[in-house]
Symmetry: C2
Subunit: 206 residues, 2 copies
DNA sequence: GATAGATTTAACCAAAAGGTTAAACCAATC
DNA sequence: GATTGGTTTAACCTTTTGGTTAAATCTATC
């Protein structure tokens, strides 16, 4: 730990991310967060006023970071080819670097679906670009031109996001099914990106 | 509630499934489970001895049911065509009927990856058929014959499972992104199956 | 209708949880 | 070196939790 480099606040945040990822909101213990951060438990409440608020800060920071990455990528893409390459890549790279955040997000999504969707909706309202409209129009346009084979934007997203986002969470099941250990190294990440891009391009582009 | 038809044990199980799905293991409250089942809290411990054991029973029953469904389907399939149609269908149908169980499984997978993989491993050891070997050999064989384009069984599974399994959990995010309500009715289920089957067959078959 | 065994209950308990508090500490400013 | 304001601590408090217990009730068998 970089107890001297990081401020108490940052150390609390780092420790909390680990704790929430491992145990979810309800399983997380503020005493363990304190211990992990090497500070007194009272400091959590001094800086973040409550466990719930600390959690909220983490979720919102995470979502902002993901959406910012996605935004950067999506703005650069004008053709389905590029989009179907860029989206899996940005998701997989982000969540392979931030596997703890992926876990926290999944937790939140399962336990409190309205929470995360409210955050997304709020961010989109504030943002200058409107992914809802951009994405919907893109898909309709491409389908009408006969470029892609899937007409419903809902299924387009559901075909792209889960194979990218959930691969880290689902891996233990795959390991069990195939009776083989898989470690998430650089090669695995590159392979996963290639496989998903290939799947999506061949599966949805005409 | 069918308080007269179901036994106390069954009512506890039903109520517990709801509670665990909504709040996860740590967020679940035995008092709420009791209330939901319309029985005294002590009965939970009378029949299931602990909250943890109640949880274990539910997880194991669920896994058994899923694997039995999958087994039935996989035994009937000898060609990649059939497998790539059957797998998404069995997953999507099972978890659309048992969305609460899907949530519990995801919870468990995130919070305690070793737990669920140990259950799977144990079941496979007891089972007469060996999906690990069958699946691995199938994929290798098909790849060598040039039937499929993905050689790694890990990625084959990661391309099939998540778009099927996680679609119900991920839906709130899709709703937020597209700014549209989506209800999971029969038509949605059929569309989802079609879309995934299409994606996988076109994406991985040569 | 007495006995026995399973089922159900209200009342209780110890431990652990999130959160508070008041005092101490520390660094900068005057 | 006294004052100020942010930071840190140990000790404490309240509520809630999973879990227990001993007595009561029901059910069936003889």
């Amino acid at each position: 730990m970089n107890k001297k480099q990081d401020s108490a606040q940052q150390r609390i945040l780092k420790s909390a991310v680990k704790e929430f990822a491992k145990h979810g909101f309800w399983g997380a213990r503020s005493s363990r967060i304190a211990k992990g951060a090497g500070i007194n438990k009272a400091m959590i409440f001094y800086y973040f006023s409550s466990k719930e608020n600390l959690y909220r800060v983490i979720i919102e920071d995470t979502m902002k970071a993901v959406l910012e990455d996605v935004r950067k990528f999506i703005m650069k893409t004008d053709s389905p080819d590029k989009l179907f390459e860029a989206l899996p890549e940005v998701y997989i790279r982000f969540f392979s670097k931030n596997q703890l955040l992926a876990k926290i997000m999944i937790h939140d999504l399962v336990q409190n679906p309205d929470h995360i969707s409210a955050i997304i909706a709020k961010m989109f309202k504030q943002a200058s670009f409107k992914p809802q409209i951009i994405f919907k129009e893109m898909v309709r346009d491409w389908y009408e031109k006969g470029i892609i084979s899937e007409s419903d934007p809902v299924h387009v997203i559901l075909n792209i996001m889960p194979p990218s986002l959930f691969c880290f969470i689902g891996l233990p099941m795959v390991e069990a099914v195939l009776d083989r250990k898989i470690d998430i190294n650089d090669k695995f990440i590159e392979d996963r990106i290639k496989s998903v891009v290939n799947l999506i391009k061949r599966g949805m582009l005409k």
